[in-house]
């Protein structure tokens, strides 16, 4: 059908690891991520507003973090996977200049429902855990 392949349920096992990905947290990503998610809260685009909350610079909004986490999961699975849920715990802010490394591992495979759970950790190199949680994907049974 295309160059894009989607993993089938049979190809996935608990313990499978996703290749880590580094995200450069730039002012561009923070500000443009906020605008692309229509989040106009000043702390995400106005440094003086962020400074007033005690942080050194503008910081990534949650909707961008959610977008990066689901992207990470579906980049691994392929495009026919259906995202069922994303459940994340929020940690330290992502501030420009940091590098966030996303890593992941399959933690459950339900052969009845076809749903796999992927534990994802997004850790920045300065303050540690930015987000940690689970993305659930429904995978096709046959390619």
């Amino acid at each position: 059908m295309s160059d894009y392949r989607t993993l089938t349920l049979a190809e996935v096992s608990v313990g499978d690891k996703l290749e880590p990905v580094d995200i450069d947290v730039t002012t561009g990503l923070v500000v443009c991520g906020a605008l692309a998610t229509r989040d106009f809260e000043p702390v995400h685009h106005d440094k003086s507003a962020a400074l007033a909350t005690g942080l050194p610079d503008v910081f990534m909004n949650i909707l961008t973090s959610q977008g990066l986490m689901t992207r990470y999961a579906t980049d691994w699975s392929g495009p026919e996977a259906v995202v069922r849920s994303i459940d994340l715990k929020l940690g330290a802010p992502n501030v420009p200049g940091m590098v966030m490394t996303m890593s992941g591992e399959v933690s459950a495979v339900d052969s009845d429902s076809g749903v796999v759970d992927i534990n994802v950790l997004g850790e920045n190199n300065i303050w540690g855990m930015h987000m940690q949680g689970t993305v659930q994907l429904a995978l096709p049974r046959e390619g």
Partner: protein
């Protein structure tokens, strides 16, 4: 806040449970390709299910869909929030917390569930209620309460496409260490925890800074000792000098510190007790070697290295 005041306060906040933050509100924009494409561009998203009409037409879905993580995006209020938001049940609840000293705010968890994929041309309406408020908790940030909003998203046919639970901690702020930013506003990279240098051991660390590992020697009986201390354990003499170690050594015992990961330290550092050729033991790191290749008795050779901007430490390599 005494017990009666706390009871009155809790009565006031728990009255918000079930209150509507937003009634069912259609999104200002229908789901559309332009906003999807802008979102994908910034997020680095290349999934053809969101972006490629031709691919999607041949796919199991038959058409492109909106990225699920955009579910909340469609109903966002927009630029007007830069000048403040209109009062609603959530802002009134927050205001009630603030009035009683719970001024700190921290989003702690967000969970989105997706029941149906959404195609171009649909319109996503959102409704939000205050779903629950916890009992008073002692958290690392200070005493506080968690409140959770529940947003429900429906399509044009009134079908539920997904839900979002967002948990927020409102707390009485305690003294927190200031955010790490140096004078020029640059982020400060964390370093190793600084060694504590006192009267009896400062000289040893000063020597490390100068690139040397010294071993204390009793000048009365010549016994070597480490870590540094004022009195010889053999003869109780308090007279001492020191010799420089060649840093030839052997691993007596070792471990790998996998959890927790400490900012400023490498991931999974190998820590070892090393018997130096001179006879004293030193706790240090073994580097340049995988944990799996470590063994008790292996020969190592140390060198003093600058491990970060502020810290010099002896580091040992397989000999």
């Amino acid at each position: 806040m005494n017990e009666a005041e706390q009871q009155a306060f809790e009565q006031e906040i728990y009255a918000f449970v079930g209150e509507v933050v937003y009634p069912v509100t259609p999104a200002p924009d229908d789901v559309n390709e332009s906003m999807i494409r802008h979102w994908c561009e910034v997020l680095g998203e290349t999934n053809p299910a969101y972006l490629d009409q031709d691919w999607a037409a041949d796919s199991a879905r038959g058409h492109i869909i909106a990225p699920p993580a955009m579910m909340y995006v469609w109903g966002q209020e927009g630029f007007q929030v830069t000048t403040g938001r209109a009062a609603n049940a959530q802002s009134n609840l927050v205001e009630t917390f603030n009035r009683h000293g719970f001024t700190g705010v921290l989003g702690t968890n967000v969970k989105q569930e997706y029941f149906r994929e959404v195609g171009v041309g649909d319109n996503i309406a959102v409704q939000m209620v205050i779903d629950n408020i916890s009992e008073r908790k002692m958290t690392s940030r200070g005493p506080g309460y968690f409140f959770e909003t529940l947003a429900t998203f429906t399509n044009r046919d009134g079908e539920t496409v997904g839900t979002q639970r967002f948990k927020v901690l409102k707390f009485i702020p305690q003294e927190q260490p200031a955010a790490a930013a140096s004078d020029d506003g640059k982020l400060e990279t964390p370093t190793r925890i600084a060694s504590v240098r006192g009267h009896d051991n400062g000289w040893w660390w000063d020597a490390v800074d100068a690139g040397k590992v010294l071993i204390q020697r009793c000048t009365s009986c010549q016994t070597l000792r480490h870590p540094p201390r004022p009195m010889c354990h053999e003869c109780q003499s308090m007279e001492w000098d020191s010799i420089e170690s060649t840093l030839d050594g052997e691993v007596l015992s070792f471990t790998c510190v996998r959890h927790p990961q400490v900012p400023g330290y490498p991931k999974d550092p190998i820590c070892a007790v090393i018997r130096l050729a001179e006879g004293t033991n030193l706790v240090s790191n073994v580097v340049g070697c995988e944990f799996e290749d470590m063994a008790i008795g292996m020969k190592v050779k140390g060198v003093v290295e600058q491990v970060d901007e502020k810290t010099a430490l002896p580091q040992f390599y397989p000999a």
